[in-house]
């Protein structure tokens, strides 16, 4: 199991995921630092991401677009607010128009990513905080089939008699 725990806070709209990988910290850092590796995992297969800018320095910006199943493009930007290789990365994440200019009205999120060694493995802790439920909902729109799986998962939860609240 790659993901070992997750935590959600509906009041603060924040999400924490902890995952462990069979690789050293320097190697895992590369999947964030190298845009060609980053775009292989950031978007789901139905909405692959292409990074056409990746100024990986503190204060630098990244720009990317995700291409949907019908060829539609959704553009986004990151602004790196802290980079301490290979242990800590912080960035703001938002939507952009077709020129790559930020659209503040669509909401932003802030991400704090940390890497630490655990034996020969690496633990990645990612905290994402959204400034509005609308911003989160727009992110989710790019991966709609996942939403459906979740809806079906809720039915499983009802069958198991568990508390979904």
């Amino acid at each position: 199991m790659t993901v070992i725990s997750s935590q959600k806070n509906a009041e603060t709209l924040s999400f924490t995921v902890v995952a462990e990988f069979d690789a050293g910290v320097e190697r895992v850092w590369q999947v964030w630092e190298d845009p060609r590796q980053l775009e292989r995992w950031w978007g789901p297969p139905t909405w692959p991401a292409t990074f056409d800018g990746h100024d990986f320095v503190s204060g630098g910006k990244a720009s990317y677009y995700m291409t949907g199943p019908e060829g539609e493009k959704s553009r986004g930007w990151w602004r790196f607010t802290a980079i301490e290789a290979p242990h800590r990365l912080e960035f703001d994440d938002g939507f952009a128009d077709e020129n790559g200019d930020p659209i503040p009205a669509m909401g932003t999120s802030h991400a704090v990513m940390r890497l630490e060694p655990v034996g020969n493995r690496t633990r990645m802790t990612m905290v994402s905080t959204f400034d509005s439920a609308d911003a989160l909902e727009k992110v989710l729109a790019m991966g709609m089939e996942e939403g459906m799986k979740q809806a079906l998962g809720q039915i499983d939860a009802i069958l198991a008699g568990s508390n979904v609240r």
């Binding site: 790659t2 993901v3 997750s6 959600k8 806070n9 509906a10 009041e11 709209l13 999400f15 995921v17 995952a19 990988f21 069979d22 690789a23 190697r27 895992v28 999947v31 590796q37 292989r40 995992w41 950031w42 789901p44 990645m124 990612m126 994402s128 439920a133 989160l136 909902e137 992110v139 989710l140 729109a141 991966g143 709609m144 089939e145 996942e146 939403g147 459906m148 799986k149 979740q150 809806a151 079906l152 998962g153 809720q154 039915i155 939860a157 009802i158 508390n163 979904v164 609240r165």
Partner: protein, 110 residues
């Protein structure tokens, strides 16, 4: 809709709502953003009236809400406040689980 307070009748309606592929697709679409009934109907090889019936089933199961706006009927996912935030965060978790799996696959290549 608070799931742990659902009565049997509510659960029946929920299952009935999800038993049909078109209705599942409608829920998926309106979760991503509002649609008019006619906008939804464009996506399916069936009559407007048939799509309207599907929407009515989803409405009874409290999965969507319908509201008149001018001549259009606007369909939205039904959610309120924290319940909505919880659902969205659950979906976001799925995205990160899949991302972590893809990272693991890249790392496995060396």
């Amino acid at each position: 809709m608070v799931v742990d307070q659902l009565r049997d009748a509510d659960i029946d309606r929920l299952f009935q709502a999800f038993a049909d592929a078109t209705r599942r697709d409608i829920v998926t679409r309106v979760t991503a953003g509002e649609y008019s009934v006619s906008g939804l109907a464009e996506h399916y090889a069936m009559s407007f009236a048939a799509v309207q019936k599907h929407v009515a089933v989803l409405e009874r199961a409290s999965l969507v809400t319908k509201e008149k706006r001018g001549r259009e009927q606007i369909v939205r996912a039904h959610h309120d406040g924290l319940q909505r935030a919880r659902r969205l965060l659950d979906e976001y978790e799925t995205i990160w689980r899949q991302r972590a799996d893809r990272i693991a696959d890249i790392l496995a290549e060396g």
